[in-house]
């Protein structure tokens, strides 16, 4: 089973009101309710994944909002079990699911997508993925130490073939040193950079500024790819071209820092090209929690698996 249709959608207009399943998250980031709060969704199962409980007002407020919208709180530790239970009574062989990735950690996103993709090919899957961009906030100046740089979950680890060289596709974020250091760590035979053009202009400036050396070297070797954050279908196409080419001569590792939308697209690439792994650094979940408000810009795509 492969992805047959991949298209950009307008959120919330193009979201199916009768989806079977909606998965959002409950966090201290107030943008976590931005998508589901503005859509009229009548899905039977509505889940709000909680990774960290918090007494912060933004968390409490979002919790109330999601309760009003009939979302059930799910601790991330029991995510897969809850999802299994939610589709136990699914009639037919098609599942329409809406996922708001805005406030999910990369690990939870990977687990969630691994669960969805495990349903294929016995179930025809229509995924609607939404991403609410946050207002710009300055990049962190201090970083928690990493305990690993590794595949995000085993489903997206890629193949352990030693005979092929490792190639690297880095999605740039705006944190200084992170991408440069991880690229040095993996020491790949070939390295490509994806630089986001975000509707939030300050973000792009910070990305360039904090990765100046890496960006310059990628430009020198013509291995810099600019992508439009608000065009996930176009970005998916760019990734597909590159990853399918790299897969012929190497084992690609995708290292998607930066916007979570790019991370999601990387997971789907790994689904289409199982030898390509999606990797992450461990620091994310130990970073201090902070409220991030919605910028008002929401992007989304639909992927149909047949």
């Amino acid at each position: 089973m492969t992805i047959q249709i991949f298209r950009n959608i307008r959120v919330p207009d193009d979201l199916p009101t009768g989806a079977d399943l909606v998965v959002a998250s409950l966090s201290v980031e107030s943008r976590c309710t931005n998508v589901v709060g503005n859509a009229s969704l009548s899905a039977r199962t509505r889940l709000a994944v909680v990774e960290h409980e918090s007494p912060l007002p933004s968390f409490v407020e979002s919790e109330s909002c999601l309760q009003r919208l009939d979302f059930a709180k799910v601790n991330e530790a029991v995510l897969e079990a809850t999802l299994d239970a939610s589709i136990a009574s699914l009639e037919g062989t098609q599942l329409d699911a809406i996922v708001d990735i805005s406030c999910m950690s990369r690990e939870v996103m990977a687990r969630l997508f691994a669960w969805f993709l495990k349903l294929t090919p016995s179930i025809e899957l229509n995924l609607y993925v939404c991403y609410s961009l946050a207002e710009f906030s300055a990049p962190p100046t201090e970083f928690p130490p990493n305990e690993y740089i590794a595949p995000v979950v085993s489903r997206f680890a890629g193949w352990p073939a030693a005979s092929q060289p490792t190639s690297l596709v880095v999605g740039l974020g705006y944190e200084p040193h992170k991408a440069e250091g991880a690229a040095e760590f993996l020491d790949a035979s070939e390295q490509w950079l994806f630089v986001p053009n975000s509707p939030i202009r300050e973000f792009r400036e910070a990305v360039e500024q904090n990765n100046a050396g890496l960006v310059e070297r990628a430009r020198r070797s013509n291995r810099l790819v600019e992508y439009q954050l608000d065009d996930p279908a176009g970005t998916y196409g760019q990734l597909e071209l590159l990853v399918s080419d790299l897969s012929r001569r190497s084992n690609p590792v995708l290292l998607p820092f930066g916007p979570k939308m790019f991370f999601t697209l990387s997971l789907l690439q790994s689904y289409e090209h199982p030898q390509a792994g999606v990797w992450a650094v461990s620091g994310e979940r130990t970073a201090p929690a902070a409220d991030r408000r919605a910028s008002g810009c929401v992007i989304g795509f639909e992927a149909k698996f047949q």
Binding site: P145, A157, E180, G181, A218
Partner: protein, 640 residues
């Protein structure tokens, strides 16, 4: 020239080059000839020290193109055929991720061993294909002629190998067998998933018999078969295993044990990091396994004499710059890079230059004495007048002046006058002049091949961008900054296990703490003619930061200063082996922490770690701590 060399953004790793490409630009480091014999060898060296290059050079294809032009090494080559098995951190991590959920140890080991067996068998097929191709087209090397067999014989050989390896081959050709192995390799994650879901190992092996094979049996029986086919039952083969330290521990143990007893036709050439998991396992295996000297020869890379390191770096730098279009020989580097600030005054030969050198020293000494009371006191105690540094040759003061000159230049460069409150004010942003020019620029690379290539790349790119010569100060400053910042970025994100009881710390934080400690002592304390610029790893430091210390050795952040490390002595194996060793920070980070490119007496590492030296532009003069006794071999004779 390969694309991998040309492109600026790729890693400088020989892993990605063909043997012929490696041979094309190969510059033999000291000790290379010792790898050409029939001994089992374990090469020990930090990341980037050239282990992969050396292993790849032991492949027949590489030796065939390199040896004819290097006849001095030809008679040392013992005629083995090298089988290079690549491995990298990606492979190791993926293997771990796919097998960590398998509940039974037997299942986990079977999967890991199978992954390794696939890699070994594929590597053997690649080697075999090269031998057959060259054998058929003819070669000067006698060794190839035995492989000039026809298609029918090739088919017979492939059928036998496929049978031995329990592979189903549609077409009995090298390509057919390779494809079957690759297909089988892609099934490993699926088989792992089956084992994770609770299926028994026996049932998985029944479906995929290759899983049950021991990797050494798979290799040795294949080699015996090939030797029979080529009519030479004593043909030696060398298994060239790279990056052993990243291999899962159980598998590593499995790989290392055959060093003591295996087929007489199979020798091992292994590459290992000087610390970390691989070395630790090797230390343990030594208790009942192979022993140094008896079973294997240890070759330590990267810790050679400074003059040797410079010569090697210069050759490599010249070669790399030439490939970038800047045609230069190693002997021309002084004129291409320009002299370092220290060069003319330290190595003056003729009378005119000598007097200019004296004047240059006087200028520095006067400037520093005027703003640094402690320096003026030190000169006064030795009865030295900074306005007159002309001494007779046998005057001890002449020796003292020469000895402290580099320190004076360094201190003068970074220091302003002390403020009214006695606090020393370090200068703000300063250029990289102290680290520019020949040979200091080369010293920053520590003779680490990957670092030399990295710096050459940055120099060439900056020169092109600014449309200036490499000699230009701006070009060198910018290249140096990028050079050390890239390394610092790696240290900031390098994953490391955190000590349970301490505040989370990145590797960079740890290194910065040590670097800042040395720098503050050097620049802000009272002047010392013999400051501490290296560390002894004491028990307390190891207990609190063992994992950090090991990783620093592994990455080349710490340079081991053990005397005689290039001899055949045992490498510094395992974490315990590092206690009592003397190390210094690598020169690549010297500009980052404002440290000179040399080292002097050591201080206990725990002393530096226990002192709060938060980076600051203005700090009170700290009191000197107790320091470790100065070792007998210590001197500043190699300053700059």
């Amino acid at each position: 020239m390969s694309e991998a060399i040309k492109l600026l953004n790729d890693a400088f790793n020989a892993r990605n080059l063909t043997p012929a490409q490696v041979a094309e630009d190969f510059i033999a480091p000291p000790g290379f000839s010792r790898l050409l014999g029939l001994d089992h060898c374990i090469m020990v060296g930090p990341r980037g020290s050239g282990k992969t290059t050396l292993l790849k050079m032991l492949q027949l294809e590489a030796l065939q193109s390199w040896l004819p032009a290097h006849r001095e090494n030809r008679h040392e080559y013992a005629g083995f055929i090298g089988i290079f098995v690549p491995a990298d951190v990606r492979w190791s991590m993926q293997l771990d991720f796919h097998t960590r959920g398998i509940a039974t140890e037997a299942g986990r080991i079977a999967l890991q061993t199978s992954a390794f067996s696939h890699a070994v068998c594929l590597a053997l097929l690649e080697t075999l294909e090269n031998c057959i191709t060259v054998g058929r087209t003819g070669s000067d090397l006698q060794i190839y002629s035995a492989f000039a067999f026809d298609r029918k014989t090739e088919s017979e050989l492939i059928n036998t190998l496929a049978k031995l390896w329990r592979m189903k081959v549609e077409v009995p050709s090298l390509l057919g067998l390779r494809q079957a192995l690759r297909l089988s390799q892609t099934e490993l994650p699926i088989l792992a998933a089956r084992l994770i879901s609770g299926e028994s190992l026996a049932s998985v092996v029944a479906a995929q018999p290759f899983i049950g094979m021991a990797w050494l049996d798979a290799l040795v029986t294949a080699l015996d078969t090939i030797n029979e086919m080529i009519g030479n039952k004593t043909q030696r083969w060398a298994l060239l295993l790279d990056e052993l330290e990243i291999v899962p521990e159980t598998l590593l143990r499995n790989i290392l044990m055959p060093l003591r007893s295996s087929s007489p036709n199979l020798i091992f050439k292994l590459a290992l990091s000087p610390s970390g998991a691989g070395a630790m396992v090797l230390s343990n295996v030594e208790q009942y396994g192979p022993t140094h000297g008896n079973d294997f020869k240890a070759i330590t890379l990267g810790y050679v004499e400074k003059s040797q390191t410079r010569r090697f770096s210069a050759q490599l730098m010249a070669s790399a710059l030439t490939r970038k279009g800047i045609s230069v020989s190693a002997d021309d580097l002084l004129s291409v890079m320009g002299p370092s600030m220290f060069q003319p005054t330290l190595e003056a030969a003729d009378e005119g230059t000598q007097s200019r050198a004296v004047l240059a020293r006087q200028k520095v000494f006067q400037e520093l004495a005027a703003k640094d009371e402690s320096f003026a006191d030190a000169l006064n105690k030795k009865n030295i007048d900074p306005t007159n540094l002309s001494f007779k040759e046998n005057d001890k003061r002449a020796w003292f002046v020469r000895k402290i000159y580099p320190l004076a230049v360094f201190r003068n460069h970074y220091r302003r006058s002390a403020g009214d409150d006695g606090r020393v004010i370090a200068r703000g942003a300063v250029g990289m002049q102290l680290y520019s020019g020949y040979p200091i620029l080369l010293d920053l690379t520590e003779g680490n091949p990957r670092w030399v290539l990295n710096l050459a790349d940055e120099l060439a790119a900056e020169a092109e961008k600014r449309e200036k010569d490499i000699r230009a100060v701006g070009v060198q400053s910018s290249a140096i900054e990028t050079f050390y910042e890239r390394f610092a970025s790696l240290l900031r994100v390098y994953p490391i296990e955190q000590p349970v009881s301490r505040r989370p710390t990145t590797l960079f934080d740890f290194v910065e703490r040590l670097g800042t400690y040395l720098s503050s002592k050097l620049l802000e304390d009272a002047f010392s003619a013999d400051p501490s610029l290296s560390f002894t790893i004491d028990q307390a430091a190891y207990e609190s930061h063992g994992r950090f210390i090991e990783t620093c050795v592994q990455l080349g952040v710490f340079i081991l200063m053990t005397a005689g490390a290039t001899d055949d002595g045992p490498p510094d194996l395992g974490a315990g082996g590092l206690v009592g060793k003397r190390v210094r920070l690598c020169h690549r980070l010297a500009p980052k922490f404002r440290l000179p490119v040399h080292s002097t007496r050591p201080i206990a590492m725990s002393s530096a770690l226990s002192e709060d030296t938060t980076p600051s532009r203005s700090v009170a003069r700290p009191q000197l701590k107790n320091v470790v006794e100065r070792p007998a071999d210590d001197s500043q004779s190699s300053l700059f």
